[in-house]
């Protein structure tokens, strides 16, 4: 295992320092270290650093030890109650979000299990989700799909957007399921996500949503439909794109989407 810069552990602790200068210095020193190690070919060093950062991200405090400064984001009763069900983290939230972000830059297989676990950390899960978004690992896809069962429509919408960037069958299947979710925010995110995956069958789901009761959902669906057509065209499926564009023109679509269809069809 390659040697890790001995200052890394010290910097991890200092990221939570109350002195903003100390905390800033520590985070940026770690970022510099991550970027240094991220040079192509240094796979073993990247894995070693990811392990150190990941372990700190998911480290738990000893029972009864208390957690310094970790309650700063817990300003509502729901989150407070939910947080009480979770193991007490060793590091305060600022450290955990910083570590999750740095693991996103390393984006290797070693980082995935730590980030997947952090998806259950209410304070750090959004940063962990973002870090997993750019990670090409299959296990990262699985972790994101599993996170769709988490509470909070905004967070789930973010997970959907992350999945929509992964052109994989199981990500698409998860998005199709999310398009039937009872919560409008999740359905809307799923429509946007489905449009990014060039699969002709997605048009049926999106077209159905153009008739939804909610104006916001209808508007999103119309835009998503045009976006799906464009993505199909870019992916080389011209006939499917043309079918959608013609359907847009035939339907009660908003004028901007009809204009896009006319431009694409050169009408």
């Amino acid at each position: 295992m390659p040697a890790i810069n001995p200052a890394v552990t010290q910097w991890i602790g200092q990221m939570g320092d109350r002195d903003q200068v100390v905390a800033y210095f520590a985070y940026h020193s770690l970022e510099e270290e991550v970027f240094k190690v991220s040079r192509p070919g240094q796979t073993a060093a990247q894995a070693a650093l990811a392990k150190v950062l990941g372990e700190a991200l998911t480290a738990e405090a000893k029972p009864g030890a208390g957690t310094p400064g970790s309650a700063s984001f817990r300003n509502n009763a729901f989150l407070t109650a939910a947080a009480q069900q979770m193991p007490e983290p060793l590091h305060p939230v600022r450290v955990r979000t910083g570590l999750a972000r740095l693991l996103g830059y390393l984006s290797n297989e070693t980082a995935v299990p730590f980030l997947a676990r952090a998806l259950g950390d209410l304070d750090a899960r959004e940063t962990a989700r973002q870090a997993l978004e750019g990670n090409p690992s299959e296990r990262a896809t699985d972790a994101l799909i599993a996170a769709l069962d988490s509470p909070g429509p905004d967070f789930c919408a973010g997970v959907i957007h992350s999945l929509a960037k992964r052109n994989r069958a199981k990500a698409a299947a998860a998005l199709r399921k999310a398009a039937r979710d009872p919560q409008a925010e999740i359905r809307i995110a799923a429509l946007q996500g489905l449009a990014n995956i060039p699969e002709p069958a997605h048009d049926g789901i999106i077209a159905e949503a153009t008739l939804a009761a909610s104006p916001n959902e209808r508007r999103t669906a119309h835009v998503a439909r045009a976006r799906l057509a464009a993505n199909l065209q870019s992916a080389g499926n011209g006939p499917a794109a043309e079918r959608i564009y013609r359907a847009i023109l035939a339907a009660d679509s908003p004028e901007p989407q009809k204009k896009a269809a006319r431009l694409a069809l050169r009408l």
Binding site: A157, S234, A260
Partner: protein, 440 residues
């Protein structure tokens, strides 16, 4: 020689615009075109740039009608609305959420002067709502955003002007044309000096002052100000003008001034749809914060044709073109050459006198022409002088410099694929996930 894209002579410019630019130059400010001929504009982001620059200019432009104002800061909204009411005796509709403004069917185009981290989302949603767009530079915060914006613009046939108004300043237009006509001989090197304008000094911005984090003021919707950017507790010196010194919101000096001067370099090189192939950036990042951009920067870009672009925040402010037979230096105040004859020789198709006359009294030369170019193109549906693809490519040059400086290594770039060769982390830095629920 091919004419540089968008770089047209004044006569052909007038011909293309149906003489409207000439009419504008001669017409008193009160002679307004018929209402139906005016472009109804919504301003999104009316801080210093949006209000004191765009709004003030557009209120005096007879081709514009201010239809709506939007800002997440109530003080900004009130000041801007007051300016409109004072000038037109009509109160504009004001919004705190740009999405509500975009629902307005009567708005033809929007001017986006928000912090950089908002540009792509607002521009894309505006185009999807059928609006034309004037977007402040740098067009994007990340390379992937820019490409997405171009794709949407082309899909919707949107007219987009990027706020690189030096493309409408006669000095820069003249300099670019001279370089492209080989008046300095074979071009070997371009230096984009990002130092202080009007001096020979560098611009080494101090690293800022730490302020205690606190509760946002009542007039500011802090969550909406942050939008897709990573969550940070409110601090006064993070928002409004100072956003440009934080990499979560902007790119520092290289995307602020670099978006202007690297844009001119790209134009002169004929690289409006391409870019460099190698980047070697050296930056010194302040280690004590709070500003986290490169306070000192020197980036060497290599183009496939052998020309080097050096971008640095030293040596005053402007662009220097060096060739086998001499040099040209151009800034917002001057156009100089190693031999004055280089500048005196007539250049086909360019009558600079009218530009000079119109630009002379402008605080930021070229702005009125730049607005008018957008209005011309909205009518003609032609591409603007600072079209979205060129804005994306110019911003990309700046982002490439930042990525190389942050990673501390030289990089190989494929401008056709818009990918780095064999560098996973560099490719990751082309984009960034948005804070939920925002998405591109």
């Amino acid at each position: 020689m091919n004419q540089p894209q968008g770089l047209i002579g004044r006569r052909s410019f007038l011909k293309k615009s149906g003489g409207s630019a000439l009419a504008l130059a001669a017409a008193p400010a009160t002679a307004r075109p018929p209402v139906n001929d005016r472009v109804v504009v919504g301003l999104i982001g009316v801080g210093v740039r949006g209000r004191d620059h765009h709004l003030r200019k557009l209120l005096r432009n007879p081709r514009a009608q201010i239809g709506a104002i939007c800002d997440v800061d109530r003080n900004h909204r009130d000041l801007a609305a007051g300016m409109v009411a004072g000038q037109t005796q009509r109160k504009p509709l004001v919004y705190s959420d740009f999405r509500a403004l975009l629902e307005r069917k009567d708005i033809d185009g929007v001017v986006i002067s928000t912090p950089d981290h908002w540009h792509s989302i607002i521009a894309i949603q505006a185009m999807e709502a059928g609006k034309d767009v004037y977007c402040e530079k740098p067009l994007s915060l990340f390379i992937e955003e820019g490409r997405r914006m171009v794709t949407v613009a082309r899909q919707y046939g949107s007219v987009v002007e990027v706020g690189s108004q030096q493309r409408s300043d006669w000095r820069f237009r003249q300099a670019v044309r001279l370089v492209r006509e080989n008046r300095v001989g074979r071009l070997t090197r371009i230096t984009a000096h990002l130092g202080n304008p009007g001096t020979t000094e560098g611009a080494f911005i101090h690293p800022g002052e730490w302020e205690p984090v606190g509760t946002p003021p009542a007039e500011l919707d802090w969550n909406m100000w942050l939008g897709p950017a990573p969550y940070k507790d409110y601090s006064p010196n993070r928002c409004h003008f100072e956003f440009r010194y934080y990499l979560d919101h902007s790119g520092g000096r290289i995307t602020d001034w670099g978006a202007h001067h690297n844009d001119i370099a790209q134009w002169a090189l004929g690289m409006d749809e391409s870019g460099p192939v190698q980047i070697d950036g050296q930056g010194i990042f302040n280690k004590s914060g709070p500003y986290d951009y490169a306070g000192f920067l020197r980036v060497r870009y290599q183009y496939a044709n052998g020309v080097e672009l050096l971008c640095e925040n030293e040596g005053g402010n402007g662009v220097r073109f060096e060739g086998a037979d001499g040099w040209i230096f151009v800034s917002r105040m001057t156009l100089e050459a190693s031999n004055p004859e280089i500048l005196k020789a007539p250049v086909a198709g360019v009558d600079t006198s009218a530009y000079d006359e119109r630009n002379r009294n402008e605080e930021i030369p070229g702005t009125d022409d730049h607005h008018n170019n957008w209005f011309d193109c909205i009518r003609s549906r032609q591409r603007c002088v600072a079209d979205i693809e060129t804005g994306h490519r110019s911003a990309t040059v700046c982002h490439l410099g930042n990525i190389s400086m942050r990673l501390g290594r030289a990089l190989e770039w494929d401008p056709a694929k818009e990918e780095f060769a064999s560098d996973t982390t560099a490719n990751l830095l082309k984009g960034k996930p948005f804070r939920a629920p925002w998405r591109l």
